[in-house]
């Protein structure tokens, strides 16, 4: 299993939430540990690698309690976005995850550049801008849902969630592309 494959698996674990009562099986911290081990097996000189490793380590520690705390009440309801400490903890984790992805993009772009994969580098750069900008907007606007009427918040929230979800999937697909490239390079 090459390193891109492990990053892909790790981030997929983070994206999937399967709960058995309070306890999350396939917990997020396992996913982040997988990402961390993949990053450690890679060359440390790629641009952004240091930051990525540090953030992955931070996340794999910070997400341990999450596996046992269950989902915030708001997510079960679907409609209400509560602002209890649990929700804020979840959102903060989301934000740190964004930092990790930010560094990962740098690593990927540098990797593609060094390997002379211009097409892949261009594609990564494009998704990088879209992904990070959309997520930054999402997190900046999210807290306004505390103070705006429901009728405004719910449609915006649904659209925002859909956009963010699509971008997550696009990112995973991109990692698959890197995984294939690496395999191809290794074979030759």
């Amino acid at each position: 299993m090459n390193s891109f494959h492990r990053i892909f698996g790790g981030l997929l674990l983070v994206l999937l939430d399967i709960h058995l009562g309070q306890i999350e099986i396939l917990a997020d911290f396992i996913g982040y540990l997988l990402v961390l081990s993949a990053l450690n097996s890679m060359d440390g000189n790629w641009k952004g690698m240091k930051g990525a490793r540090a953030t992955a380590l931070t996340l794999s520690v910070l997400t341990i309690p999450q596996a046992f705390l269950g989902q915030p009440a708001g997510t079960n309801e679907g409609v209400n976005i509560g602002f209890d400490p649990l929700t804020i903890y979840h959102q903060a984790l989301g934000l740190i995850k964004l930092v990790l992805i930010f560094y990962l993009f740098y690593v990927f772009m540098d990797w593609a550049k060094k390997k002379g994969e211009e097409e892949l580098e261009r594609r990564t750069h494009k998704l990088f801008r879209g992904y990070v900008t959309a997520h930054l907007f999402y997190y900046a606007l999210l807290p306004f849902s505390m103070n705006l009427p429901e009728s405004t918040v719910i449609p915006l929230f649904i659209v925002g969630l859909a956009v963010v979800m699509i971008l997550e999937i696009m990112f995973l697909i991109l990692i698959r592309a890197f995984h294939k490239e690496q395999n191809r390079i290794e074979i030759y």
Binding site: A73, F83, L95, T133, L136, L141, P143, F144, M146, P149
Partner: protein
């Protein structure tokens, strides 16, 4: 995107969270705010109060100023919802608040002869106790019908307009009208119509269509005369209609349920009293909630 831009964006996000959390906190009520009630024993006594949106507690019992205690009827039997905003006792909701009500049995109030004014002690199911001015709450004796008035129709609309109308079964003379809470008339405009009172507005053509139209008609065009301008006695012939139309003002934030009494005599001299129910079931807009907090918050 450069690292610096990213860092600044994260900073903006932190500010957005901090600012919104601060604003949200500043909007929270320390304790529920109770409406001013004018209850004169007509129908179920409903206690209205404003709470924070996340507050899931509800009223269990009330100790009135005369020492009597009443338990609220439970709407919560067999009901469970994760979100307080969608409980069965919620009348209106805004971004930060909920207007809730608790109902009390009128029969029980009659037995205890509740006579309350001013501050009451309210117990909540989460152990919280609040002392607040809830207005006037009085029981009333059960009355016997006089058999003279037949209910014709009654209706109320979301714009605060409502009316009740009756037809009289014999010739009667109405000599006076009295309200237990004249101060409520600051909040509600009322017009009384009988064929002998003025001819402003819609003539009493009969038929339900007239009434429907009346609900949206401009107040000045509503049939009848304002209560304070009526010259008593009012003569009514058999089969005549009498109608009381009420219009709540937009800034009315009180809860009331009482009866206005019409007193008079029949053709053969027997005196009678006929009640007209005046009640609202407050449903507040976010603006009215703010008004309530402004007027009655932190008393």
């Amino acid at each position: 995107m450069k690292g610096k831009t990213f860092l600044i964006s994260l900073l903006i996000i932190a500010i957005s969270w901090g600012g919104n959390l601060w604003f949200y906190q500043s909007k929270q009520l320390e304790e529920p705010i109770f409406l001013e009630h004018y209850y004169g024993g007509a129908g179920v006594f409903e206690l209205y109060y404003l709470t924070n949106r996340e507050d899931s507690s509800h009223v269990m019992s009330v100790e009135f100023s005369d020492g009597t205690t009443l338990h609220a009827k439970s709407d919560y039997y067999g009901f469970h919802s994760e979100s307080p905003a969608y409980g069965p006792d919620v009348q209106s909701r805004s971004t930060h608040y909920l207007l809730k009500k608790a109902g009390f049995d009128e029969q029980q109030m009659r037995e205890l002869e509740v006579d309350h004014e001013g501050e009451a002690t309210i117990h909540f199911n989460d152990g919280k106790t609040v002392t607040a001015d809830i207005g006037t709450v009085e029981f009333s004796k059960l009355r016997e019908g006089n058999g003279l008035f037949r209910q014709q129709s009654s209706s109320s609309s979301s714009n605060g307009r409502s009316f009740r109308s009756y037809t009289v079964k014999e010739d009667v003379k109405i000599e006076s009208m009295s309200s237990p809470f004249p101060e409520v008339q600051d909040d509600v405009k009322m017009k009384l119509y009988t064929p002998s009172i003025g001819t402003t507005g819609t003539p009493d053509g009969g038929g339900p269509r007239t009434y429907t139209k009346e609900m949206d008609e401009e107040w000045s065009r509503v049939a009848g005369a304002p209560l304070e301008k009526i010259d008593f006695p009012i003569e009514m012939k058999q089969g005549d209609r009498i109608r009381l139309t009420m219009q709540e003002k937009p800034d009315a934030i009180r809860a009331y349920s009482y009866e206005i009494d019409l007193t008079g005599t029949t053709k053969n001299g027997t005196p009678f009293t006929q009640p007209f129910l005046v009640s609202n079931h407050p449903q507040f807009t976010p603006e009215q909630m703010e008004l309530l907090i402004e007027r009655r918050g932190s008393q």
